[in-house]
């Protein structure tokens, strides 16, 4: 899979390396949910800086991860959305409700530790 999930203290960092197919998105979602349970993490950062496209399926999957994590007391932060991707997403009305959003990995860690 083109995603590596790293454990960093109380937090998980999932960094997406290349474009994802729908199947890979589902794998990422399930892996994240499983790892959060396993490590009892308090926060998850998903870095999507390598993605040129975030479609409705990916957006919904990320929202699902965020909602599920919230029910378990973990925060989800999406970081690294590119300007073009942000414009496209807002044009198509895609939202990432219940996820926190930060500019990049550094800002995401700040947001979790603050």
């Amino acid at each position: 899979m083109a995603v590596s999930i790293l454990k960093q203290g109380d937090y998980l960092i999932a960094s997406v390396q290349s474009a994802l197919t729908d199947t890979e998105v589902i794998e990422l979602r399930d892996a994240l949910l499983a790892q959060v349970a396993k490590h009892r993490s308090r926060g998850v950062i998903v870095d999507v800086a390598a993605l040129d496209i975030i479609d409705s399926f990916a957006a919904r999957s990320l929202t699902t991860v965020a909602r599920t994590n919230r029910l378990r007391g973990a925060k989800t932060v999406i970081v690294g959305i590119q300007p073009e991707v942000a414009v496209a997403m807002s044009q198509f009305g895609l939202r990432l409700d219940s996820a926190h959003i930060a500019l990049d990995l550094e800002a995401g860690i700040q947001l979790l530790t603050a």
């Binding site: 959305i81 300007p83 959003i101 930060a102």
Partner: protein, 300 residues
């Protein structure tokens, strides 16, 4: 303008009588130079054209255009006239001379010259017809050249100004760490709104901004398309981790937005720029304190 020259050469070869007629015509126009110029100037003043120019200026331009005009008639080459028209346009456009004035002036000259030809040849109507056959196509071509040069010059000026406006129109200013201001001045259209979104997102990324204050005090009105662009810009900023505060919504614009039913739930809005900056500073945990009393009569 090689085409023009070769066309004239063709005329000289195939239709010698026309060529000599043209020469006769040019000689006539040169001979009656002063009265024709004066007549033209009088007609310009009478028609109240070129009112932004003084009488002396009109006279000197009239002299130059007349000479160029007759030269162009004689040689069939409009290159020199074209260059002069371009140069003239450069000078008179900034002074507010309108297209209809320029066209009017050129057509008046055509009229004045044609009348003088009528007078000269009125005894012989078949000769008059042939003279007009030679004169009119050339005169029309000259009128078109001058008009087109003027319009082209105007378009060039407009393009230049548009690009200047594009460059100036959306400054993204950093006032504190993580805090940007975007003052928007002037009317917004769809293309400017799109450009604004681009600049905004680039500014957020380059400055690692968390809060952006967009001030639209200087925007006279907003329509549905632009309002939607603004909403999209705010959403896109949110996806890059920055909150947007809109300030300076005039009562008119606020009413328009409400009337259009634009979804503003995700926009935070504060009355004026000062309030917006204060709110942004609060969100970023800045505290601004005054370090002493202001002495009356000094700064502020």
């Amino acid at each position: 303008m090689e085409k023009g020259i070769s066309a004239v050469a063709g005329v000289a070869r195939d239709r010698d009588p026309d060529r000599s007629l043209l020469q006769e015509l040019v000689a006539h126009l040169r001979h009656h130079l002063t009265p024709l110029r004066e007549e033209w100037t009088r007609r310009i003043t009478e028609a109240q054209l070129l009112r932004v120019m003084t009488a002396d200026e009109i006279f000197s331009e009239v002299t130059a255009v007349y000479d160029n005009y007759v030269d162009a008639l004689e040689t069939g080459s409009i290159e020199a006239l074209e260059a002069y028209a371009k140069n003239l346009s450069e000078r008179i456009i900034p002074r507010g001379v309108e297209t209809h004035e320029v066209l009017g002036v050129v057509l008046l000259l055509r009229d004045v010259l044609a009348r003088s030809l009528f007078e000269k040849y009125q005894q012989d109507s078949s000769l008059l017809n042939r003279v007009l056959d030679v004169y009119e196509p050339a005169a029309n071509r000259i009128a078109v050249t001058v008009g087109v040069s003027f319009v082209q010059e105007r378009e060039r000026v407009i393009r230049q100004q548009q690009s200047a406006i594009r460059e100036l129109s959306t400054p993204v200013l950093k006032v504190r760490e993580q805090l940007l201001i975007l003052p928007i001045i002037g009317a917004l259209d769809a293309s400017r709104a799109r450009q604004l979104t681009e600049q905004l997102l680039k500014g957020i990324r380059d400055n690692r901004a968390k809060v952006v204050v967009i001030d639209i005090t200087g925007v006279p009105s907003i329509d549905m398309t632009v309002a939607n662009h603004m909403v999209q810009a705010v959403r896109a900023s949110g996806l890059m981790g920055a909150r947007v505060i809109i300030t300076g919504l005039s009562a008119d614009i606020a009413q328009t937005l409400v009337g259009l039913g634009v979804d503003l739930s995700m926009m935070q809005s504060v009355g004026d720029l000062q309030g917006g900056i204060e709110e942004a500073e609060r969100q970023l945990s800045y505290a601004v304190t005054r370090t002493g009393n202001v002495v009356p009569g000094q700064d502020e």
